[in-house]
Symmetry: C2
Subunit: 333 residues, 2 copies
């Protein structure tokens, strides 16, 4: 701009206004300035604009893991919507660690972003410490929590109804006449695991069928522990399995097949998260779709709404998406 101003012998103010097509400036000058701007391929400096406006047009996304189908679909949803609104997405990975989550938030909270979208790390949910979130909201930075959320922090939230998902899936298994149903899940401190377990138990309780046996295996970590897994499946002759993630479900199917079980004839399997594995498994896996794209889109929508809204009224909402049961070949039709 300085350059153009000098070249055209006008002030920087005039250049600025001319480029914004201000009514203040004569048609003549505007055309000249704009022509020069094109010529010199002038592009306004985003940083300077951000400093002036106190708005960066960046949104920070903090997730535990990116090599995970659900999270990537959420990011895609966020990115797509954010882009239409002129926002960029800064992605940080907490790697399931509380400390990294804190560091990342602090890194971004110093003016780099206009708002956060995040899903809690397992470590954070275990520690149950949300001070870093509270600090951010107290600074007035909008925050949207998705999927792995907490009630300890007041902010917008979006989740799928995990309990309902598990309920519907379990009901599906019951309706097929399954009597010995296993739930393979993770520890309860993860908000989603807890909700899914509740849905599972509720469905069985609602069935009022005393012949139904329920079994629950709580895996210690997010990863696979083969021995726990096989011991559980060896010791219990189940006829249905509901797993809280694809990996558990695929592994269960594989091991059951190894043991000579036919799927779905002998054992029905359902897994949470409708990812690639479910689709391409053999047999393909009936799955509870979490609609990550939609979730991401809505999270971005809620966040940008908050960012751009003038009023400071603190009304927070929690949106609950309905999961969908995608029926495939691992359950009987």
């Amino acid at each position: 701009m300085k350059h153009i101003a000098k070249e055209l012998d006008v002030s920087i103010s005039t250049v600025s206004k001319a480029l914004k097509n201000s009514e203040e400036i004569s048609r003549d000058t505007k055309e000249k300035v704009q022509a020069f701007a094109k010529l010199y391929n002038y592009k306004p400096n985003n940083i300077a604009i951000s400093l002036k406006n106190k708005r960066t047009k960046n949104i920070g996304v903090i997730i535990p893991d990116i090599v995970h189908h659900f999270f990537t679909t959420v990011i895609r949803g966020i990115e797509k919507f954010a882009n239409t609104k002129g926002y960029n997405v800064i992605v940080c990975l907490s790697d399931e660690s509380f400390d990294k989550e804190v560091i990342n938030m602090e890194m971004l909270a110093n003016g780099s972003i206009d708002g956060f979208i995040m899903s809690l790390s397992s470590d954070t949910q275990l520690k149950n410490d949300y001070n870093h979130l509270k600090e951010v909201t107290e600074q007035g930075i909008p925050l949207v929590l998705f999927d792995r959320i907490t009630n300890e922090v007041e902010c917008d939230k979006i989740i799928i109804d995990d309990q309902l998902g598990a309920y519907v899936a379990t009901k599906k298994l019951l309706d097929q006449g399954r009597k010995k149903i296993a739930l393979i899940t993770t520890q309860d401190y993860l908000s989603v695991s807890k909700a899914r377990t509740e849905g599972f138990l509720k469905a069985i309780a609602d069935s009022e069928d005393n012949a139904v046996e329920k079994l629950i295996l709580k895996m210690p970590s997010m990863g696979m522990d083969e021995s726990l897994f096989t011991t559980f499946l060896d010791g219990n002759d189940v006829d249905a399995v509901l797993c809280v993630n694809e990996i558990f479900a695929i592994s269960a199917m594989r091991y059951l097949k190894l043991k000579g079980k036919r799927i779905p004839e002998d054992v029905s399997c359902i897994g949470f998260t409708d990812g690639l594995l479910s689709k391409y498994a053999n047999p393909s896996l009936t799955a509870i779709a979490q609609h990550g794209d939609e979730m991401g889109k809505m999270a971005a929508e809620m966040l940008i709404e908050k960012i751009e809204s003038e009023n400071e009224e603190e009304t927070y909402i929690t949106k609950i998406l309905e999961p969908t049961l995608i029926e495939r070949d691992s359950t009987i039709n």
Copy 2:
């Protein structure tokens, strides 16, 4: 800072220096200022610092698709390394579209980032138009291209040796005595597909076994076209299949099994990209690992090196990573 300055009755300059532990400022004042800063939880504004330093500590990553195992591992690699160096990662998705790629680059090139890491969209490789990349490099913004690259642009690049990967995989199939080997790939305008096809052909040529038959199916798009696929496999009684991605490989295995073929006894299968599908397929799929994490890490390393190096000497390097053949159950040991 203004606040602290007023409160302590010193100048803003003094506050700034005190916070940076400048030698100019007395121990006494420094302690006071730093204490106040802690008290008021002062955090420097990154935007202002960026404006002053002309360095944002952000790196822009533009990839065609994020719901793709290889790309997510690359992002993870980038993010991890970048974070250790104090950089944040802004992710943009081109969605395989030339236009979006251009828009994203322009959005970020106006001061939002210090450098780019990107992988070309298929659309861009088809159009063969790289002016947006050239503009960016001419502006002096460092650029590192990975995986899907072009020779049309002078910049740092990093790829895996796709030709070698295909060569090794094909050789593996030949060594097993396979005589009728299929390659299922995509169109040649994708740099990686081309290289893989070359490796495939080279391995067969090198074998000097005239009994070996080679077949190539070029799928029209990135997605699956079932009819083309099945027609090809029905019409050719192959005993080995090499696929340029997991989806093709898994689909091939599934269809072959459907036709009564045993894997690996009757047909050996190998796929590019060692992702989740390969690991959890049944049988598990022998795969060519592309080391996305490593690639991402190195890309970030190269980029940050360029960003932080003082000298303007234009020396660009291309790093070539070696792929690894991960042997699993879809090939004979």
